[in-house]
């Protein structure tokens, strides 16, 4: 009935119910407060309206009352804050074994690439019931990945990765909006997320792939000659990348960082920024040489060399080819 006049957004992810619950709680709290204030104002205005001969009673104020109506709201606010923080933590903590999708936003389209290799523009196909993690970057201005039916939103910035995740619960086609103003066709930067039953999704998956993303990453890795220094036997001038991803590593200047997506990305574009302990800043920059898509592929490849994920039997330094390892993983999921 409300197809053309919805009053509530569709609920199609595991997060949607959590956000809605808090929202409904807040609607009740603020509805109650608005009612309280308006009833008081209307009642006082009517009951104490000016009548000839009746004068206002001088009242100075009351510290106990002031404390009451400071402390009680503060308590309510703390409840809302904590509840909001819990939901936020869920929104911002992608499950470790989530399927990965690399997103490149540009004026004015979404380019999406599945870890399995499928590429899409302005459309993202996902199965019901699987955690999907998006690793996102922008080629130009700031954009924002927003799917109202999933209640998720994350700005997509140039020069770094940001991450969002969801688990869809209901098959259907949902709006994907750009929520951060990005120029002329900002309101045309609309795509959709197509949630499918797992069986249908497998059918969709089987067509059109050019091989896993990590495999194209391996190809780029070879073409750019990275393997000359980053040798798997640890004898190269650069660090061995086997098993590196996800580890906390020590830098030449004494700091420690986690070797996450942003670290890999930065090390390719600005190799001198965070040099691993025991190595020299001899690597040239690849800024302007690799595209965003190639970068994503390289990151996916470096990740595939690591064994941090459950369900991946490959040990660090294993000799089995990475492409095969990543193929194994998608089967396990």
């Amino acid at each position: 009935m409300f197809d053309n006049f919805p009053l509530w957004p569709q609920r199609a992810s595991t997060m949607a119910g959590n956000v809605d619950a808090l929202y409904i709680f807040l609607l009740m709290v603020s509805g109650l407060m608005t009612l309280l204030i308006s009833v008081c104002v209307v009642f006082f205005a009517a009951k104490f309206r000016h009548r000839p001969g009746v004068q206002a009673e001088p009242i100075e104020g009351s510290t106990p009352l002031e404390l009451t109506w400071s402390i009680i709201p503060m308590g309510v606010f703390l409840v809302i804050f904590s509840w909001g923080a819990v939901v936020f933590f869920q929104e911002r903590t992608p499950p470790r074994d989530a399927t990965e999708v690399y997103v490149v936003a540009k004026q004015w389209m979404w380019k999406l690439e599945h870890a399995e290799g499928q590429r899409e523009i302005n459309e993202l196909h996902v199965p019901v019931g699987r955690d999907v993690k998006m690793i996102m970057t922008s080629q130009d201005a700031i954009h924002s990945f927003y799917v109202p039916a999933f209640r998720i939103k994350q700005d997509v910035l140039p020069g770094r990765y940001t991450v969002a995740w969801f688990r869809a619960t209901k098959p259907g086609t949902y709006h994907l909006f750009c929520a951060e103003y990005c120029g002329t066709q900002h309101s045309g930067m609309i795509g959709s997320v197509v949630v499918m039953e797992p069986a249908q999704y497998e059918v969709w998956m089987s067509g059109g792939s050019t091989g896993p993303l990590s495999a194209s990453g391996e190809k780029v890795f070879a073409e750019l000659g990275c393997a000359t220094c980053h040798r798997p036997d640890g004898q190269g001038r650069g660090p061995n990348l086997q098993g590196l991803f996800g580890k906390t590593v020590q830098l030449e200047d004494g700091r420690t960082v986690t070797a996450d997506e942003n670290y890999i990305r930065e090390s390719i574009l600005d190799p001198g920024a965070k040099v691993l302990k025991g190595f020299k800043p001899v690597m040239p920059t690849f800024q302007g040489i690799v595209s965003e898509e190639q970068l994503n592929a390289l990151v996916a490849y470096v990740k595939s060399l690591s064994s941090t994920r459950p369900g991946n039997a490959m040990a660090a330094g294993s000799t089995s080819p990475p492409a095969k390892a990543s193929a194994q993983r998608s089967q396990v999921q």
Binding site: N4, S30, M33, I37, E57, V87, D140, I142, L157, G188
Partner: protein
């Protein structure tokens, strides 16, 4: 309530309006009351320009397709609507008009501490305004009023630098006004006017001035950095040049969040004056209301990153800023409770200023409470950058600030112009504004929650019904805003001459003539009473021969 005028003076007394005539006497005046009128004229002009842009925005959004204007034009419209309304109307509105007029009068001073700097600040405002107009007439700007980088520094092909410089110049006007108020309130209070006897309007303006002084320089330097990156390719914000786009957002919101309090605090000051006067009572919990203004000004500086929860800041930073945002909500809630309690056992009159105050209470409450939604991290992720935010801040900045401004304009109009405005029309206008406002902005809360992003000039069809409601409301609201302008102008010629104290109100400004003489008081007042001594005024009403508005 009928306005009975007992006697009309046949010979006009000498006052600030009739002492000198001619354009020069206005353009070179250092009288704070005349400068207030110069500001009134200029901000009204910009208000209607900004309103015209809003009208075009609402008309475009009547249908899902982008049909009335081109995408680029639409982007310029909402950008210039925001820039004009924020920097050239809302920020100067109450402080530069009513504050300028009333701060010296309320504390018993002859003028502000630096009358010439006061005039300079108006000229700076005008120079900034002319630059903004020139920018708009020669192509405009399309970055959104937020100037987000790297779009503004690397991708927009509009007049970003010129718009930034216009705001940069106008910012100094704001800084100088704040400086003038701080010094005036510290140094020029009449004998006996202690801090605890100051009207709450003064406390509110003191708090506002602190924000203007400390916050505005930050936006000024930020806009200079944007211009430097755009024109000279200095790498500050753009990652391609080695900069950090989040740095810009931190700097921008460090000013622009407190700027919301520049808009709402003075309005809160007005509401305190009006509710006390029309309830015939001292304000409930004077010191709590006064200190809550200062608390808002201080805490207001610590919450800026709640605009950035999905921008890419860390989870822990988001937690801190969410918590601090709830802290700043407490003093606002305290104010609302105290205003409501003031009415208890009062003797309440329903004159137009009080109707605006009622409207303020309703709209500010909704605006404040929806702020709780946005400060809740889990919900903010869904509703930030949607129409929910648009509705929220319009409830505060238009529902709150503009309602207060209009209430104040009605309350003090007899003092400013020496004439009474037509009460019936004024009540009608208050009602129209309230209805039109709610019809315009309430549907936008729903629109936001069902997911319509802001700054969209075309949208999926399921959002249309709510957008049509909103546009219909905007038309009504427009009428509500035009009405006061018409009858205020009318009253300047045809309104009944106002007595010195038409509302039988407390406060020094009502103890001098309407309109006041050039140096405000014939003799320097000596204050021997507390603020809002309405119980004394009720016992000894204004003398019979003085005309009273009711």
């Amino acid at each position: 309530m009928s306005m009975a005028t007992a006697s009309i003076p046949t010979v006009e007394r000498e006052n600030y309006l009739n002492k000198h005539y001619g354009v020069g006497s206005w353009l070179f005046t250092t009288d704070h009351k005349r400068i207030a009128l110069l500001y009134l004229l200029s901000i009204t002009f910009f208000f209607f320009i900004g309103g015209f842009f809003a009208l075009l925005i609402r008309l475009e959004l009547l249908t899902p397709a982008g049909d009335l204007v081109q995408a680029d034009s639409y982007n310029k419209l909402f950008t210039m609507h925001g820039m004009v309304m924020v920097f050239f109307f809302l920020i100067p509105s109450i402080p530069a008009v009513l504050g300028n007029f009333l701060v010296p009068l309320m504390i018993g001073a002859k003028d502000l501490a630096f009358p010439k700097i006061n005039l300079l600040s108006w000229y700076l405002y005008i120079i900034g305004g002319v630059m903004m107009l020139h920018c708009m007439l020669t192509g405009g700007v399309d970055t959104g009023w937020t100037f987000y980088v790297p779009f503004s520094t690397a991708f927009s092909n509009t007049k970003v630098v010129e718009a930034g410089l216009a705001i940069f110049v106008a910012g100094f006007s704001s800084i100088l006004t704040g400086l003038n108020f701080v010094v005036t309130i510290h140094r020029l209070r009449a004998p006996g006017m202690s801090w605890s006897r100051l009207p709450l309007f003064i406390w509110a303006h003191y708090a506002t001035s602190i924000i203007q002084l400390l916050g505005t320089p930050v936006i000024a330097i930020t806009l200079v950095l944007v211009a430097a990156e755009r024109a000279l390719h200095l790498g500050i914000f753009d990652p391609k040049l080695g900069g950090d786009p989040l740095l810009f957002q931190h700097l921008f919101w460090f000013y622009s969040h407190p700027a919301v309090y520049i808009m709402i605090l003075p309005s809160m000051g007005i509401i305190s004056e009006i509710i006390a006067c029309f309830s015939r009572k001292r304000i409930f919990g004077y010191s709590f209301v006064a200190f809550s203004s200062i608390a808002i000004a201080v805490f207001g500086f610590l919450v800026w990153a709640h605009h950035m929860f999905v921008a890419g800041i860390s989870v822990y930073a988001a937690l801190v800023f969410s918590l601090l945002s709830y802290l700043v909500a407490v003093p606002s809630a305290v104010k609302v409770f105290n205003w409501t309690a003031t009415m208890y056992k009062g003797s309440i009159y329903y004159d137009a200023p009080m109707l605006y105050a009622f409207g303020f209470l309703g709209l500010f409450t909704v605006g404040g409470l929806t702020g709780l939604f946005l400060a809740a991290l889990g919900i903010d992720v869904h509703v930030t950058d949607t129409y929910f935010v648009i509705a929220h801040f319009h409830y505060i900045m238009v529902g709150g600030a503009v309602m207060g401004y209009l209430g104040g304009m009605h309350f003090w109009w007899p003092k400013i112009s020496g004439r009474l405005y037509p009460e019936g029309w004024a009540k009608l206008a208050a009602l129209i504004v309230f209805i039109g406002f709610n019809l315009t902005f309430f549907p936008q809360f729903i629109l936001g929650y069902i997911g319509m992003p802001r700054r969209y000039y075309q949208y999926p069809p399921e959002f249309q019904v709510l957008n049509v409601l909103s546009t219909a409301g905007a038309t009504i609201l427009g009428v509500g805003y035009l009405l006061p302008m018409v009858y205020f102008l009318w009253s300047m010629r045809y309104g009944k001459p106002a007595p010195d104290n038409p509302w039988n109100a407390a406060g020094l400004e009502w103890k001098t003539a309407s309109p006041p003489p050039t140096f405000n008081f014939d003799e320097e007042p000596v204050v021997t009473w507390e603020a809002y001594n309405y119980d004394e005024l009720n016992r000894f009403p204004v003398k019979e021969e003085t005309p009273v508005a009711r």
